[in-house]
Symmetry: C2
């Protein structure tokens, strides 16, 4: 894993959770330009509300992010806001930075107040063990994730080597709460606030906003990017060459993390990628791709390795996009090959054995050629299994 210059990481166990790490800090030696994308849920957790305020006031002076797992600090009212602010204060005190330079994030149980003694102890401990290794932080933000989710890449801009590192957690469930997606991107690129905001929005629309595990949008979702400028490149402005180069790097990181999140979706055994091509417009392409990977019927069909193309056409049909259904061609594709299952909106004869072979792989691509335009979009989801129901319905604490 490449680590961008000037960032330090920590992850400790402060006993919010029984055994595993539950508090992490990212710290930058110099102030960062920061941008964030937050949950669209009307019910926003306290740290989401807190960070949105901070980023309005101080988006070019961020020094740290403090994150806890185990308790979401959502549906916690006034006390929840006080606790979110206290997490920032305590972190600022320990790091010797201004309170308004610290962002806060939580994931875990809804409706429970944070055990602030434990959190404050955890912050003290974490600050003592800050290092270049991002792994403890990546572990500390996990809930029911079964795998750590990190990805890094390098890009050269202005002859300067720039590093981008992303750390995410995915859809896990801890009683009594819900799936949450958190992603923290660090880079040593020098970039203007406006450019960073634009870049993040663009990338999120084609990565985290195109994944689905179970259709439920969390109260705590956030994606934060911190750029500390230590790579020493000339400040990147919107839509310049440097902007697009950095975009590619950040977007690679976001897409890889997004895919890791669906791969590790609760109970998932397969990744489903829906690739909608030759769509009349981008909005329709995205709506349709998302609708396909979100459909319980498509998810169960892929789980059952069943070339059930009617469900895919139907999911496109109820996506909210307007289109001519009589032009659709549909394909299944995987490592094992590619097969056409529908043409001009109607089924075509295909070899069931071959389809079964293709669908027996771990990553299944569904390609919908709409033949009515030039736009395209991809979305990622996972299959729906008995295990998902077990995790979310049967096992309780």
């Amino acid at each position: 894993m490449f680590t961008p210059s000037g960032f330090k990481f920590a992850g400790v166990h402060c006993k919010i959770k029984r055994k595993r790490k539950d508090l992490g800090i990212i710290f930058s030696e110099v102030p960062c330009v920061a941008a964030g994308v937050f949950t669209t849920n009307v019910v926003k957790a306290a740290p989401v509300i807190y960070d949105m305020e901070i980023l309005k006031k101080n988006s070019n002076g961020i020094r740290a992010v403090v994150v806890n797992s185990g308790v979401a600090n959502a549906c916690t009212g006034e006390q929840g806001m006080i606790n979110a602010r206290r997490m920032a204060e305590k972190t600022a005190e320990e790091l010797g930075v201004p309170v308004e330079s610290v962002l806060v994030s939580s994931t875990g149980v809804i409706g429970v107040q944070l055990p602030m003694d434990k959190v404050e102890n955890g912050i003290e401990e974490a600050v003592k063990v800050l290092s270049n290794d991002p792994l403890p932080f990546a572990e500390a933000i996990m809930t029911t994730d079964t795998k750590v989710k990190m990805h890094s890449t390098k890009v050269t801009i202005d002859g300067k080597e720039i590093t981008v590192l992303g750390i995410a957690k995915g859809s896990g469930m801890i009683h009594p709460n819900m799936a949450t997606m958190l992603s923290f991107i660090t880079t040593d690129a020098k970039i203007s606030e406006e450019a960073l905001k634009k870049l993040l929005k663009l990338s999120v629309d084609d990565s985290y906003n195109m994944i689905d595990v179970d259709g439920d949008t969390s109260t705590n979702d956030m994606v934060i990017v911190l750029a500390n400028g230590l790579a020493g490149n000339t400040t990147i402005q919107p839509e310049t060459d440097g902007f697009w180069k950095l975009y590619e790097a950040v977007h690679e990181v976001n897409q890889v993390l997004a895919e890791k999140i669906v791969e590790d979706g609760e109970g998932a055994t397969k990744v489903i990628e829906a690739h909608v091509v030759n769509a009349p417009d981008m909005k329709s392409a995205r709506l349709i791709a998302r609708s396909i990977v979100s459909s319980n019927l498509v998810k169960t069909a892929v789980y059952g390795e069943d070339a059930n193309w009617g469900r895919i056409i139907a999911a496109a049909g109820y996506s909210g996009a307007a289109f001519d259904p009589n032009k659709l061609d549909l394909f299944f594709e995987s490592e094992a090959g590619r097969i056409k299952v529908a043409e001009n909106g109607q089924g075509v004869p295909f070899d069931e054995e071959e389809a079964k072979k293709i669908l027996s792989e771990k990553k299944i691509r569904i390609i919908l050629d709409m033949k009515q335009g030039k736009e395209a979009a991809k979305a990622w989801g996972c299959d729906l299994t008995e295990k998902y129901v077990e995790i979310n319905g049967r096992y309780r604490t």
Copy 2:
């Protein structure tokens, strides 16, 4: 079951399916005023397209509906349209009525052409066995429904006794296709076209449009109401006393059928009713109620008999409605009692044992008191179980 005057029913086995009845006819001795509500899916099955045309031209002269199960006649192109029309023609010939007085409906496998020899034989047979008993028809439209779905009621308007009978099928799956909801309402009321259309729309918005089994909208969904006027009342006009009386009767039938459909949802063990009260407006109330019963996380929590109120608040939050989350009170209710789990958007202490007892019942009511307006809405769904995944993913033909 009460049967309205002048209607006859038949259901036969014409061998589209291996064993069970698969073709049904409803026939009225005199022309009916008719209204229909059809799937909003862009991908519409041939019979849906066919009926929408017929009702545009001839909504006061309908004599019959012919329905097959086993093959959906969806994604079947030009041949599908020819076959839908042929079903109407053959039925018209056998009944001795005009072709444009016959509506057509199908449910079953997507992407397969109807076996027209079998269908035509079935129509001949069915016309021979028309009777006052609606049961064979109700059986003939079933797919993986485990129970027949009928409900009837009577109402007196103008001193005349009027009967309303509804027959529906619910969410069943037959490889390789999807859930379909069909509902046919017959009444001997005399009513104007305009009034009947209005009445149906009003009722559907608060019944079939408020249920969810798995979020997938079929290519074949339709609700048809036929009113033959034989009760002899004065023609009912919109929003008169008689209109509201008939509305109550039709709506009772639709609500009972809608609830029967979710009760018999694939793999379902419990019915979930979300009742949103004191909402800022009707649209928000409906969005939130539907969002709650559609959430996979709420569905699995109810299956697990887990008072997981955070998932419900979160589902309200991402429904698309704008509201103040800090005013929400939330209750669980069933035959076994009622318990408050959240107040002003935050959790309140409650007895887990009592909650478990309430959630162990077959019908679970979730009451969300928004305390920010006067509107209310109800939605119905079912739990999500391993069995659902099994039916839709594991068992294949």
